[in-house]
Symmetry: C2
Subunit: 586 residues, 2 copies
């Protein structure tokens, strides 16, 4: 701290002086003209309103803010980097020009694929990428014990080991909230590890009563990002839970949460987060800057919105050197055109200009890591077309299956259907809007393959396979015929994962995600283009809507209502028990 | 957490239900009627506004709040318990009925007397006294290296060892702010220990420029409690410093700080503290409850004032289980009549009723500790009347001395005076409003005794001695004649310290402070009566005003302007160098 101290009192020059900023004071909510002196990567001095500007002689370099608004760097308090389908380095390249300088990342997805090695990879991959990445230890790996196969089960011992890693601030979103509320010993033991380690605990809780919420909070959970209604947000804020106001690609709760915050005098227990955001949204719409725009559009006072993304987030994360441009803090700063559009014009990290007008300007060394070239697909034996058929005898067979409700992948129900039998297999593809859905275990070569009918996707021909399949990220394939299913699946086995669409026995579109089957090695522009091409193909094949690929990734998650298919078979997620594929004769 | 969780969802009864509270929500700033369920010493549930009350059947016991206002327990973020002249146990007995449930204590005074053993004693003495006592490690022991003798010099090694003690949250107020701003290596090393240990650093900074303040903050200092002017408070809040708004016995900055907070939209970086508060003030006027009253009287919004004393304080201290009545938090609660008078009607700590209507109701075991019966007076040889005279030859002698400015003990100046010589000694007592001031080293039997003339106290006869003498707490004596000075001093050497007044060779009033010469073993009522009697005697002897004893304790502190007397002699505190007693011939 010697350098900023010396510069503050004029004993040494500043490294950089930002002149003529409209300084947004996140403590006092004032906006006033100020100069900011930087030294040693830290804020050395911010002129007070009645004070003369810092002389040009004081600093080695001068940056003229030209009366634009200077804010602390933005903080995302809850994000799964894997949802961007980019490596941490490429994610950083994408979000920094949008003003994000710190994230708390929960590597939940990659840990389902790699186990503890997943968080090791994230810690390693987050080094020297300008973006400050803190980590949360995934609390629910797998999402539901026994219902699906993933790489590794995290128990209290693994959790404790990961909590002790440098850069780990929190236990990640405790999604098994009913387990916690019911005082499930394994979940309570996991929470106890976090509390004993002095770590913050992030939550994820939906549709509970206020007394259930109290039990969840009494277990030590501090935050939530799932408020879909005004009443829910109000209840949580009143209880003292930190509301992580979310603006993701699909789940966008900021508008209703903004209403709650305005109603409740903008309590300090609120932050912004994105949770899951797709590459093209990050590229074209932004990250926390977009959440700020939406918050202000929803009626939130602009400076209050900035507080969510900066000061409140830093308080929540317990980090004193970010979230406010106070002397001694890291010089992570964002210059925006105004407090309505939040167009990011310049981003400084550690006092260094890193992005201007939406483009990264800092050199960005990011050596490839061994894991990024490892094929993690580990399937027992060779797949064949028989893996994607449902054997049956006689003329017809009655099967249990999954049916979408109104095309919403988050809500499904059980459907029982009678299919004709041809060549010893159920002719599922013949059914109205039916496809065959298959899930192939891909982590430990167990040989598990489950198949079931799926209704309501709209797919009319061909097949689509993917390895992004929450939360186990096994290989899923859905298709009208086993040959296309096999072609799509084999491509992913070979490439290490991603998405592939096949027709007439050959692959017609593809997004390789070779890093654990979750992430591309390409930067956002190339990845977004690949994704756009795939979406067009999938739309052509009959799955309509703007997120035709994203919707496919939810068919396997055994904690979403009501019926899902995992590698172990059909699963009734409400009663939490397996369902048979073949409907028993009455 | 099993018990509060089970009670929250109705699986087990609450231990206690508070019914019909006007619940002051420190998150949302709302006030609404609520019931509060307690289990296992924790908040298990607080009913939401639209929710039915908790059934009496749900709880083992019921306490009817009768529509009075329920607040979280009050937190004092900066207090020197020794200033109450009470042991931690008696301090706790006194402040709990006023609603204080947590303090951050800086045992600065006792550490000057006992060294590291002082903080050990405080940690031990703070166990099982209902009040939650966190500790700050004193950063400036002694106040000015080399200028005075105390028990032990704290360097980085001692600081590091104390920072690692359980219950230690902070490095205590860094009073040598000019040392820090000038990057004194010893102070920077001490601060670095705190930052490396991840501890918060409390400040104490007066009359600096905004750039000096930046240097001080860049060194890692987070807070301050010395804002005497609106401009100073505004400057510090804007810089992001935490303003610990102080309402002590003498220093009462809350009114001007309340004005600053209202002006700056009540930033969250503000708390309440008392710093130094005398026993009779604690007894008769209160503690943080009095600070709240004064804040509201100064125009602060009542709920905002409560936030300072609860939520903001907990955020500042980094303590998640206090400061708000949220599920899982400690059930430390205060019931007040209204949000103007803040008359404390009931206090609950850990869910247990501990005080009602100003009286402690909980049993209070507090075994005496060995240190409390140890006489810490360690003076070389026997004192004699010669120790309190200034030898001189000839008819007269010209001496340097200390002069009060307008009776303000915090501001002194140098005075040079010619005294008659009688019997080989300067006849200081003959001078107009002059007394002899002596300081006797009392920690390490060095034999240091310094004597000098002192003008402006008003003392007309007799002598007063004391062992509360900031910060070294050596034995000071001031008097009109050496016999009375000796009598007063000898009494304190014998009793282990405190204050004594003597006339005609015998002690006429006394407050024994046998615990390190700083603290009484008596409870507040007895101590306040003793202090009142002493004050009357001292007033009779000629020292006017309401704090005649308190003013005496500042004559030795070598960091107050401009001239002080330490055991090493006269000291020019502005130029930071010793002064000769005898004015050299020109």
């Amino acid at each position: 701290m010697n350098h900023p101290m010396a510069a503050a009192v004029g004993d040494k020059p500043f490294d950089l002086v930002l002149k003529n900023a409209q300084f947004v004071n996140v403590h006092t909510e004032e906006i006033y003209r100020a100069d900011v002196g930087i030294a040693g990567g830290r804020i050395a001095h911010v002129t007070q309103p009645e004070e003369d500007g810092l002389s040009a002689l004081d600093g080695g370099a001068v940056y003229d803010c030209a009366n634009r608004f200077l804010l602390p760097g933005f903080i995302d308090t809850h994000v799964h980097i894997e949802s961007s389908m980019m490596t941490p380095a490429n994610f950083a390249r994408t979000v920094i020009p949008h003003g994000t300088t710190t994230v708390l990342a929960d590597p939940h997805e990659i840990c389902n694929v790699l186990g503890v090695e997943g968080i090791d990879y994230c810690a390693e991959a987050a080094r020297d990428i300008l973006l400050r990445v803190f980590l949360a230890v995934p609390s629910c790996v797998p999402s539901l014990l026994g219902a699906e196969s993933n790489k590794m089960v995290f128990g209290p011992a693994e959790i404790a080991r990961m909590l002790a890693m440098p850069g780990v601030l929190a236990l990640g979103e405790v999604m098994d909230y009913m387990g916690v509320i019911n005082r499930d010993p394994r979940m309570i033991a996991i929470l106890d590890e976090a509390l004993q380690a002095g770590k913050m605990v992030q939550g994820h809780v939906i549709d509970v009563t206020s007394r259930q919420l109290s039990a969840y909070m009494a277990a030590g959970v501090e935050s939530d990002h799932e408020s879909r209604t005004l009443a829910d947000a109000v209840m949580k804020l009143r209880a003292g839970m930190t509301l992580e106001c979310r603006y993701g690609s699909t789940a966008q709760n900021v508008p209703v949460e903004a209403e709650a915050l305005a109603l409740l005098n903008y309590p300090v227990n609120a932050t912004l987060c994105t949770d899951d955001r797709e590459p093209d949204d990050l590229l074209r719409r932004g990250h926390i800057d977009e959440a700020l725009r939406q918050a202000v559009r929803a009626g939130m006072s602009p400076v209050k919105a900035v507080q969510l993304a900066t000061r409140n987030a830093a308080l929540f994360l317990g980090q004193k050197d970010i979230g406010a441009l106070r002397p001694g803090a890291r010089a992570d700063m964002v210059l925006v055109n105004d407090l309505h559009d939040f167009t990011v014009e310049a981003v400084f990290i550690g006092g260094r200009l890193c992005a201007e007008n939406g483009r990264l300007t800092a050199p960005f060394p990011s050596p490839a890591l061994p894991i990024e070239s490892r094929n993690t697909m580990n399937i027992k034996g060779a797949l064949s077309r028989d893996d994607f058929t449902i054997p049956a005898q006689g003329d017809s067979v009655r099967l249990n299956g999954v049916s979408l409700r109104n095309g919403d992948p988050f809500m499904t129900k059980l459907v029982q259907t009678t299919f004709a039998v041809r060549n010893g297999c159920a002719a599922v593809g013949d059914g109205a809007d039916f496809v065959t859905l298959a899930v192939v275990e891909r982590h430990n070569a167990t040989g598990n393959v489950a198949v079931a009918p799926l209704r309501g996707t709209g797919l009319r021909r061909g097949a689509i396979a993917g390895t992004v399949a929450h939360d186990s990220h096994n290989l899923f394939v859905l298709g009208k015929n086993p040959d296309d299913m096999l072609a799509a699946a084999l491509r992913l086995v070979e490439s290490g994962g991603g998405f592939a669409a096949a027709e007439n026995g050959r692959v017609v579109a593809e997004v390789p995600l070779p890093v654990c089957g979750l992430m591309s090695v390409h930067p956002v522009e190339a990845l977004a283009a690949e994704m756009a091409a795939l979406k067009r193909t999938v739309n052509d094949m009959g799955i309509v809507g703007g997120s035709p690929v994203h919707m496919l990734t939810w068919f396997c998650l055994p904690v979403l209502p009501e019926v899902r298919l995992t590698d172990k078979g059909l699963f009734d997620t409400v009663r939490q028990k397996p369902l048979p594929l073949y409907v028993p004769a009455e």
